[in-house]
């Protein structure tokens, strides 16, 4: 088929380009700008090339934060995904209790991040918090401000409390879309409960689960507010995740150059991992997993 060629048509793309430019490209470019320059104040900048990038890549600080970040995202995914599926499998499928469960499950999702942080910050305090006080009373040595392990447990439990609902709700939607005939056929075929899960429920949920994993990965990888409110990154640097470290560097120490280089690499890592997820997802889809 012959296509009409008219290069003026490119002007039709202009509004979108302008919108994207102002919302994403230009702000990002200021960061790029900072990352390749150095300043000693008075708004004077000097070309620094890739120096900041080299410095950041050589610094233990960033690698440590990345390590902690990967560990955090890994742990919460390992807990939230199976737990979410388990909750979804056990939710009632219809009637009053189904709606009731849905509402209760949605509640944590509606609470603002800093409020979640505050809730858990107080909840875990040994002097006035219900959790901290109770644990102390029964003789558990729990103090998230001093003990690394306690601090990690607190922020992980907090994230699980806050976000498992999301995975559960997505998994529930996936489960609800399975026609009855599948369960009936499984009964006829005498499939065990495990086989029903493995060969019917899990494959049918795969699509929404992938979305859940992707969302939870991206969100947890960028998490800032909740752990910042609870532990402030401590004790020491034990819970200093990537974004907490970044803010310390950019606003606490005002090291704009390194922080900008850090940001760009941070962004690229998220982009890369999300891309890998997406590719794996679509490939699995094609192969019929």
């Amino acid at each position: 088929m012959d296509k009409t060629v008219n290069h003026k048509a490119w002007f039709l793309v202009l509004p979108v380009l302008i919108l994207v430019a102002f919302s994403a490209v230009i702000p990002l470019m200021t960061v790029v700008n900072y990352s390749v320059q150095d300043t000693f104040g008075q708004n004077e900048f000097f070309w620094a090339g890739l120096e900041w990038f080299e410095e950041m890549l050589a610094s233990d600080r960033m690698w440590d934060a990345l390590g902690r970040q990967l560990m955090f995202s890994g742990i919460i995914l390992l807990i939230e995904v199976p737990l979410g599926i388990f909750v979804a499998l056990n939710m009632p499928k219809s009637g009053f209790w189904a709606s009731f469960c849905l509402v209760v499950m949605s509640l944590p999702l509606l609470i603002p991040w800093n409020v979640v942080g505050t809730i858990w910050q107080i909840f875990g305090r040994v002097d006035i918090g219900l959790l901290g006080y109770t644990l102390d009373l029964i003789g558990v040595d729990y103090n998230y401000t001093q003990d690394t392990f306690a601090a990690w447990v607190t922020i992980i439990v907090m994230d699980v409390w806050h976000w498992t609902s999301l995975v559960a709700l997505l998994a529930y939607a996936g489960l609800k879309s399975i026609p009855d005939a599948y369960y009936q056929a499984a009964k006829i075929d005498q499939a065990s409960r495990w086989k029903v899960f493995r060969f019917i429920e899990l494959p049918k949920m795969m699509g929404v689960l992938m979305i859940a994993v992707l969302l939870r990965f991206m969100d947890s990888f960028m998490i800032y507010t909740e752990p910042f409110v609870v532990t402030g990154g401590g004790p020491g640097n034990a819970t200093t995740l990537l974004s907490i470290d970044l803010v310390k560097m950019a606003l606490g120490q005002f090291d704009l150059g390194p922080a900008a280089a850090f940001s760009i690499m941070y962004f690229l890592v998220i982009l890369l991992i999300s891309w890998v997820f997406y590719t794996v997802m679509t490939n699995l889809d094609k192969k019929g997993m």
């Binding site: 005939a181 009936q184 009964k187 006829i188 086989k195 060969f199």
Partner: protein, 358 residues
């Protein structure tokens, strides 16, 4: 294999059924003979699937009992009943290969792999999918998937009964015929009790020894294809079986004569006084157009369908169909119709009345 007895069986989807209308399946007593092939025929929503699901245990009946041979299995779970059932729309296990799909019911029962492999190969040949055994079931066409569903239903030899719930709906016509033949052969070879739900009369009549016709949650007739054709027990059977269906005409019946708008039609048998809605039913095959005999009709249209002609006519304000042979002349001056008295049935409130031989 077993004889399946339905004893006062009834089912309602409502928790507290009040009137008879609340029942999806009205009270039913029937014995499915061991090893017979039945077709369950009826229009959509008449309770066919409900009945099937009760037999296989996917549904617990509200009332009555169901026995396999003489064992009460009313509350036994599906797994204990050893039933194979194929559903209207294909159910395949997407992540498994075709081979594993077919092997699934056998493996779940712990059969050894050698037997499983043998059986799978046999079934694959039967459904024509031998060269696809290693493919993933996902991404296959709907009719390939349905063939797998059928295969999974047939793979076990030790089933009490094979239930088919309109299994060929999504299969293309050529394959339909082929699979139906395979099912018949399977029945012939192994003698499983088979119940085949359909709303397609050709399918029902070619498949089954006995046809069970359901209408609004009730079994209205159980019989051989011949019986359904010759002596429909209910006007629905007359209307549903046959192409076109039976002509049902309101009439007044006195003794051996039926009166339609004052004109008389002779009957082969005598009838006592009848209450309620009285109708006579004549199959188009037993009506004949003529020049001089019988009652007046107004021919509206003649359709030549190849083997015979269908004449659509108006008879005292009612639409009737008449079938004439391929070579029978039909001309403009033929404006009368006669009925073969032997094949005129009388219905009171939709149920056939058995007349007394004169």
């Amino acid at each position: 294999m077993a004889k399946i007895t339905l004893d006062n069986l009834a089912h309602s989807y409502l928790p507290n059924p009040k009137s008879e209308d609340d029942f999806a399946l009205k009270e039913l007593n029937h014995v499915w003979e061991d090893g017979a092939a039945y077709a369950l025929l009826g229009s959509s929503g008449c309770g066919k699937t409900t009945l099937l699901n009760i037999i296989s245990g996917l549904l617990q009946p509200s009332r009555g009992r169901i026995l396999f041979d003489d064992v009460d299995v009313t509350h036994a779970p599906t797994a204990q009943r050893s039933i194979a059932q194929v559903f209207q729309f294909p159910v395949v296990y997407d992540t498994m290969s075709v081979r594993d799909n077919l092997a699934f019911p056998l493996r779940n029962r712990g059969r050894d792999e050698k037997y499983v492999a043998e059986r799978v190969q046999e079934i694959a040949r039967m459904i024509g999918m031998e060269d696809m055994l290693n493919r993933k079931a996902r991404g296959l066409t709907a009719d390939a998937k349905q063939k797998i569903s059928l295969g999974r239903g047939m793979v076990r030899k030790d089933v009490n009964a094979l239930l088919f719930d309109e299994p060929l709906t999504v299969i293309d016509p050529h394959m339909k015929w082929e699979l139906r033949t395979q099912l018949k052969k399977l029945h012939h070879d192994f003698g499983h009790t088979m119940i085949y739900v359909t709303h397609d009369q050709t399918e029902a009549l070619t498949f089954a020894d006995k046809v069970v016709v359901m209408y609004e949650g009730r079994v209205v007739q159980i019989g051989t294809p011949d019986e359904l054709f010759e002596r429909p027990e209910h006007t629905f059977v007359g209307y549903f079986i046959g192409s076109p269906g039976m002509n049902v005409i309101p009439a007044k019946v006195e003794g051996r004569t039926a009166y339609i708008d004052g004109s008389s039609v002779e009957l082969a048998r005598g009838y006592g006084p009848l209450d309620g809605k009285v109708e006579i039913g004549v199959r188009p095959e037993f009506a004949r157009l003529s020049q001089s005999d019988g009652l007046p009709v107004k021919v509206r249209r003649v359709e030549d369908v190849g083997r015979h002609k269908i004449i659509r006519a108006n008879f005292f304000g009612h639409d009737i169909n008449i079938i004439a042979g391929e070579d029978d002349p039909v001309s403009a001056d033929m404006n009368r119709v006669t009925f073969d008295a032997k094949h005129v049935n009388v219905y009171a409130n939709d149920w056939r009345v058995e007349g007394e031989a004169a």
